[in-house]
């Protein structure tokens, strides 16, 4: 079992309240996913030549005491990169105006235990072990602002309970995916992608789905084509919720083994595994509430 939540606001004023509206959604999914939680927020885009990385220091020797400002000084010294860092406990968002590959290579060489959670111009990512309430509190989720987000509460079945195996998973730039379910062919997907130079960071089945779909998008498929290939190639039980800079997308396996419910008003689209995570939203009593059909694509534009 796991819980997924997604929220996309249509009314610009609600962008300021994105995190505040989402936290009860995430906490509402605690029974479905008590061991870890995570969140990807899509906000205003950086300039075209800028990138940001979401970093996790919990697996380094210093943990939450990691010297983030030492990191920016070292980047200036070694790479002559002016980086800005925004620290929240054992997470930080590092932004700069050079090639992300340059910075990532340096990080992997000099801080191999620092986990790179996401890369892009719009995505910030936080995930850790703990109850959804603890994780939301640790990173002050309620203060998050942006146009849309993807969240997850995890009850691990396919791989260990560790921060790097929590969801959302990311691949490439500005793409993330959360999963409720279990795949039966993640290893054949890995064998297919590895020769294409795609590197996996964990043994988690969801990572295989995430990298497969991002690979299709990078190869030029539009989202709908990529999702159709996902239906053809990914076997097992799934409700997937994906985020890109301007879209939220949802699919369910043909047997609808894992739940999802959507509430849509003039102000927002909210998605959750169950209605109990949507019940607190403003105006939800008059929202269009529906259950997404199996093997159909649902895409909402931010």
């Amino acid at each position: 079992m796991c819980g997924i939540v997604g929220l996309l606001v249509k009314t610009p004023a609600l962008k300021e309240r994105l995190g505040e509206l989402m936290v009860p959604m995430l906490i509402g999914m605690t029974e479905r996913g008590p061991d870890s939680a995570g969140l990807a927020v899509f906000g205003d885009s950086l300039a075209e030549n800028s990138r940001k990385l979401s970093l996790y220091s919990g697996l380094t020797d210093d943990g939450a005491d990691f010297n983030w400002h030492g990191l920016t000084h070292a980047l200036k010294e070694h790479l002559d990169v002016d980086a800005h860092i925004d620290v929240k406990h054992n997470h930080a968002v590092l932004s700069f105006a050079v090639s992300p590959e340059l910075v990532k290579r340096w990080l992997r060489e000099n801080h191999p235990k620092l986990h790179i959670l996401s890369t892009g111009r719009t995505i910030d990512l936080y995930k850790d072990i703990g109850t959804p309430a603890q994780v939301a509190d640790r990173y002050d989720f309620k203060s998050m602002k942006g146009s849309h987000l993807v969240g997850h509460t995890r009850m691990a079945t396919e791989s260990a309970v560790t921060p790097d195996r929590a969801h959302p998973f990311t691949a490439g730039e500005d793409f993330c995916l959360v999963h409720n379910g279990s795949l039966s062919n993640p290893n054949s997907i890995r064998r297919k992608l590895t020769p294409a130079g795609i590197h996996f960071e964990t043994d988690n089945d969801t990572e295989a789905a995430c990298r497969f779909l991002e690979w299709r998008l990078r190869e030029g498929d539009d989202l709908e084509v990529a999702l159709q290939k996902g239906f053809d190639e990914l076997d097992g039980f799934f409700t997937f919720l994906m985020g890109t800079p301007d879209k939220l997308a949802l699919i369910r396996d043909p047997f609808a083994c894992k739940p999802a419910v959507v509430a849509e008003t003039d102000d927002y689209v909210a998605i959750a595994s169950e209605f109990r995570s949507l019940a607190h939203l403003p105006g939800v009593k008059h929202a269009n509430v529906f259950e997404p059909a199996p093997e159909e694509m649902y895409v909402w534009n931010a």
Partner: protein, 229 residues
């Protein structure tokens, strides 16, 4: 008649369910309103008395499950397994129902005004189900007794491995399951269907429905089938 209200925004679900199990007397016909259900699971499960429970909002999993004698009305949608294993009485969902609605129901009437999800009426054991909208795939799988009335369309594998339950379908089916077949409607079918539609408050013409029942070819092991069904 005595009326009671439980507001789940201010009192606990356990408190309400405890009352419904221990606070009622034999033959109690009270009218109970449930406010702010907010998708909670297990609302009004296992009732044993002819009370009326009206749930004002969306219910979570297993609402009205194992119902006996009671009349449960959900003014909203229902999650997975609404009225599962119902014994008697009725459950009426005014909105849509998720997967496994009315699964294994032995008796009683489940009415869903909107659509039902996948596996509606799976392993039905004698209950009746009337769906105003459409049903998802694998509905009526291994249904043994009782009736399913589907006023809209059905997904894949409708009535797969049916026993003696009968399905009446008004719309189209994507595919029938193994051993399910269309059959001619008899006068008895029209009478049964008219009564179920009337009880469900739906005014479709019984003549617009088709009957689906078991061809009974899977009832006995066929050693010559060479594992090809």
């Amino acid at each position: 008649m005595e009326r009671m209200t439980f507001d789940l925004a201010s009192s606990s679900l356990t408190e309400m369910n405890t009352f419904l199990h221990k606070g009622l007397e034999e033959g109690d016909k009270r009218h109970i309103s449930v406010l702010n259900p907010d998708g909670a699971h297990n609302i009004a499960v296992g009732l044993n008395h002819p009370v009326t429970v009206e749930i004002h909002g969306h219910a979570g999993y297993y609402a009205g499950g194992m119902n006996k004698h009671a009349r449960v009305v959900i003014h909203g949608s229902a999650g997975t397994g609404v009225a599962e294993n119902m014994m008697s009485g009725s459950v009426h969902v005014k909105g849509f129902a998720s997967n496994g609605a009315g699964a294994t129901a032995h008796g009683g009437l489940l009415v869903i005004d909107g659509d039902a999800g996948l596996r509606c009426g799976i392993s039905l054991k004698g209950g009746d189900i009337v769906v105003g909208g459409s049903v998802g795939s694998f509905s009526g799988f291994m249904a043994q007794a009782g009736h399913m009335v589907i006023c809209g369309d059905a997904g894949d594998a409708l009535g797969d491995s049916l026993y003696e339950a009968v399905i009446y379908l008004r719309g189209n089916v994507k595919s029938l399951g193994a051993d399910a077949q269309f059959e001619d409607m008899t006068d008895a079918d029209y009478a049964t269907l008219a009564e179920l539609l009337s009880k469900a408050g739906m005014d479709h013409d019984p003549k617009s429905f088709k009957r689906i029942a078991s061809a009974r070819t899977l009832y006995h092991w066929n050693a010559d089938a060479n594992q090809e069904y």
